[in-house]
Every structure is written in structure tokens, then in C-alpha cells.
């Protein structure tokens, strides 16, 4: 994991890299992954409610919600930035509302880099991003004091 601030451009760049099995292997059995390629696995991972362990087991503490990458990448875009992901032989760049993809020499794992404009980051409301997630609804049983 690495982070750096570039004062001339007022950019913050964050990178997270692992040497795991990669997104394609994690999502190979996902019902929405029709084309079993690294690039399609990366694109699917960027969508909300997609996770390698979300649909695996019930009542498991590590059974996550699959919104971390989609929300953080959207946060980067709204902060005037971009997202680059490399996994296996696939590379995908998310810039504004467009995805661009290409192939790379095999990378054993997944690398994610996000660039944001520091000044715009403070204006992005996380609550707005969460409300836009599919399935979001207010729960009347929640009691706030």
C-alpha cells in the first residue's frame, strides 16, 4: 500500500497491490461473469454488490457486501480523478464515466491505483454515494438519539 501527494498538481495518489489469485479467479463462478477474462472480471468488480465471497456462504462474518471498490472508485471519479486496475493479463482504466481496457504482461495478483484532486475530494459526500447504491433504503426500525 502506498500514498503520495503531488503539490504541483494538487493530486493524491493511492495504490494497493497484492500478489493473490487475481480478480478473475475470485469471480470465476460469479453468475454475472459471462466472459471469463481478466478484463471482464475487473469491470465486474467495479460494479456495486459484486464480491468474491458475497454469494459464497450465509452467516459468515467475512461475507462482505461488495461495495468497497465500487464506492471508492466512484469517490475518486467525483473528486476529479481516475482509477487504474491491473489483474492477471487485464488492465482497466476508469476515467469520468468511461472504462478503457487493454492487456498487459501477466501480473500475479491485483493492483489498484486511484488518483484524486485534493481540493475536490472534500466536496464529495459519501452519504450521497451510499444512497445511490442499488437496494439502498431507509430502515424505519433504526432508532437515532
Amino acid at each position: 500500500m502506498a500514498a503520495q501527494y503531488y503539490p504541483t498538481k494538487d493530486h493524491i495518489r493511492l495504490a494497493v497491490v497484492d500478489n493473490g489469485c487475481g480478480l478473475l479467479r475470485s469471480l470465476r463462478n460469479h453468475p454475472r461473469l459471462a466472459d471469463k477474462t481478466d478484463i471482464e472480471a475487473i469491470k465486474l468488480a467495479l460494479e456495486p454488490r459484486v464480491s468474491g465471497n458475497r454469494d459464497v456462504g450465509l452467516l459468515d462474518d467475512s461475507h462482505n457486501q461488495g461495495v468497497g471498490l465500487s464506492v471508492s472508485s466512484e469517490l475518486a471519479i467525483r473528486a476529479g480523478g481516475r482509477v487504474d486496475i491491473i489483474s492477471g493479463q487485464g488492465a482497466v482504466k476508469k476515467l469520468r464515466n468511461a472504462l478503457h481496457s487493454w492487456t498487459v504482461p501477466a501480473w500475479h495478483g491485483t493492483a489498484i491505483e486511484m488518483t484524486v484532486l485534493r481540493k475536490q475530494l472534500g466536496g464529495v459526500r459519501v452519504s450521497s454515494l451510499i444512497r445511490e447504491l442499488p437496494g439502498y433504503e431507509q430502515v424505519s426500525m433504526l432508532r437515532f438519539t
Binding site: 450465509l58 462482505n64 452519504s127 439502498y136 431507509q138 430502515v139 433504526l142 432508532r143 438519539t145
Partner: protein, 105 residues
């Protein structure tokens, strides 16, 4: 008698980000729920991620269903935490109902 869980007393005090910390805070909350009927969870002065809230609160909803919500109240939530709570709890109520139907049929 009701209990109060002041989250900012626990490290890292102001920003709770990981599932690991969420699991630890869930342990504190469950210990209070074992001894008290109702618990007020106090998020005053802190920020938290969806992962943390899901691990601390969402897992309890997944395990015990809507009944657990009658024993919990939330204090001092900023707008982000309130929104995350709605998202996490609505999702986990749906997951709980789905798992209940799976085990019933």
C-alpha cells in the same frame, strides 16, 4: 437497565475503518447485550466506513434478525454514518430473511 457504548473511547478513537476493528467493537457490544436489555451505541465525534459498520452492526442483524434492532439505539451519528447504517441494516435484514427461507425450505 440500559447500557451505553461510547465508541470513541476505544482505539483508534476517531476513525473506524476495518472489519478487524468492527469485529472487536462487536465483541464489546455483545458483552453489553448479554448483561443489559438495551444498548445505546454512541458514535459521537467519529467517522466510520461501511465495512466497519457492517462488521459491528450488520453481522448482528444477519444473526439475530430485526429483533436485535429493538434493543439498539444510535447516538451522535453524522450524516454519513446514518446513511451507512440504513444501507447496512436494510441489506442485512434482506440477507437474514433469505437465509431464514433457505433453512426453512
Amino acid at each position: 437497565m440500559d447500557a451505553h457504548l461510547e465508541c470513541s473511547k476505544y482505539p483508534p478513537h476517531h476513525f473506524f475503518g476495518t472489519r478487524f476493528i468492527g469485529q472487536q467493537m462487536r465483541g464489546e457490544l455483545e458483552a453489553l447485550l448479554d448483561r443489559h436489555q438495551n444498548v445505546e451505541v454512541d458514535f459521537t465525534g467519529l467517522n466510520a466506513t461501511q465495512s466497519f459498520i457492517d462488521e459491528m452492526i450488520g453481522v448482528l442483524v444477519l444473526r439475530y434478525g430485526p429483533a436485535i434492532l429493538q434493543r439498539l439505539s444510535f447516538k451522535g451519528c453524522n450524516e454519513d454514518i446514518q446513511t451507512i447504517l440504513h444501507f447496512v441494516v436494510s441489506s442485512r435484514l434482506a440477507d437474514h430473511e433469505a437465509s431464514r427461507q433457505t433453512f426453512t425450505h
